[in-house]
């Protein structure tokens, strides 16, 4: 079984995120981590390979430290990696990113695509379903269980108050969420091997894409500016004795701010 994992290196959850003075970009502390949800995808891919044989290929799009996620994948046990690091690929919206990735996936026959349900930096949660649509495949989002048998996959995903069990024919796309598995910590020897690994790259041209179709140029959504999150206005003390204050608090919660 050929399994493709789409993974992304994101700023560490603890990294300081600031907004550039003119609002045109973000200033992010250069601390990185594998996107949490992609770790589940990687782990699931490896477990499927251990069970069914085949190979696991990790693909990422990005420059600089982006490669690290591929090395993490190899350290965990992935067989192959592919890097899309041409600057033309960068700063795309969900669509432009999914387009490039879907082409990269298509370079070889595959049975399964796994990725995290969202990246913790852009929080878009778009690429997985978009890749599925671009490849004209079914997908199951936010899965917590996945079984493969007879060319079919049975996946579970939580829905409000319960869970849905669905069946899709392969090939198909699955996005992983917490609860799917516990990602393994790569062995030190695995990390050493990954550090030495040569990472193959691919250009837009090799994917049959023009630079207008991908990255910022190919995006249908433009980031106009970044704004700071709203700050709390400061506490408003509710006066009166216990009974009065309680009544006023309830009135505010029910009538004014309507959170109840």
């Amino acid at each position: 079984m050929n399994i493709v994992v789409l993974a992304k290196q994101v700023p560490d959850p603890e990294a300081i995120v600031g907004i550039r003075g003119d609002g045109t970009g973000l200033e992010i502390e250069p601390k990185f981590a594998t996107n949490l949800f992609d770790e589940f995808a990687l782990e699931e891919a490896l477990r499927l390979r251990e069970k069914h044989g085949g190979k696991v290929k990790v693909i990422t799009l990005g420059g600089g430290k982006a490669t690290e996620v591929l090395r993490t994948g190899i350290a965990m046990g992935a067989d192959e990696a592919l890097l899309l690091d041409d600057p033309a690929f960068f700063d795309g919206d969900g669509y432009a990113t999914a387009l490039a990735l879907s082409r990269a996936i298509q370079r070889e026959p595959f049975d399964l695509v796994l990725c995290g349900k969202q990246a913790t930096d852009d929080d878009r949660s778009e690429v997985g379903p978009m890749v599925a649509q671009l490849l004209n495949l079914p997908h199951v989002g936010g899965i917590t269980k996945l079984d493969i048998a007879d060319g079919k996959a049975t996946a579970e995903s939580p829905v409000e108050g319960g869970k849905a069990v669905v069946e899709v024919p392969l090939p198909a796309v699955f996005t992983a969420q917490k609860g799917l598995n516990e990602a393994r910590v790569p062995l030190i020897t695995g990390v050493m091997k990954a550090m030495k690994a040569q990472i193959p790259k691919v250009t837009p041209n090799e994917l049959g894409l023009s630079t207008e179709e991908i990255g910022k140029a190919g995006s249908k959504v433009r980031i106009e500016q970044y704004l700071p999150p709203k700050k709390r206005a400061g506490v408003h003390f509710i006066p009166g004795d216990a009974g009065e204050a309680a009544a006023e608090a309830v009135r505010i919660l029910v009538d004014e701010v309507r959170v109840i």
Binding site: D12, P13, E14, A15, I16, E29, K31
Partner: protein
């Protein structure tokens, strides 16, 4: 600025389990409470409700002073596991 707010400036990734464990039977007989005074993060306190020593490991700066100062051997202190604990941005 309160000490808690100072510590909150730091990046800290906490493990679920504490890397600092106390032997309450030893603490019970301790009068000096060296840990309370030595810890630069002010993480040690005597719990009013239970009368036991408590340590808020989540703000640990990993200096090890408590381990050295607790001459009665109550503090068993290890480094937090890999990837956990304080991550100094300046150092």
């Amino acid at each position: 600025m309160k000490i808690e707010e100072k510590i909150a400036c730091n990046a800290i990734k906490n493990d679920k389990e504490s890397h600092i464990k106390l032997k309450q039977d030893v603490c019970k007989n301790c009068r000096e409470r060296f840990c309370v005074y030595a810890c630069p993060g002010h993480l040690y306190s005597l719990s009013e409700e239970t009368g036991e020593m408590a340590v808020e490991y989540a703000g640990c700066l990993e200096c090890g002073t408590c381990k050295i100062a607790c001459i009665y051997g109550s503090v068993s202190w290890e480094y937090p596991g890999g990837e956990y604990g304080v991550r100094y941005r300046y150092g």
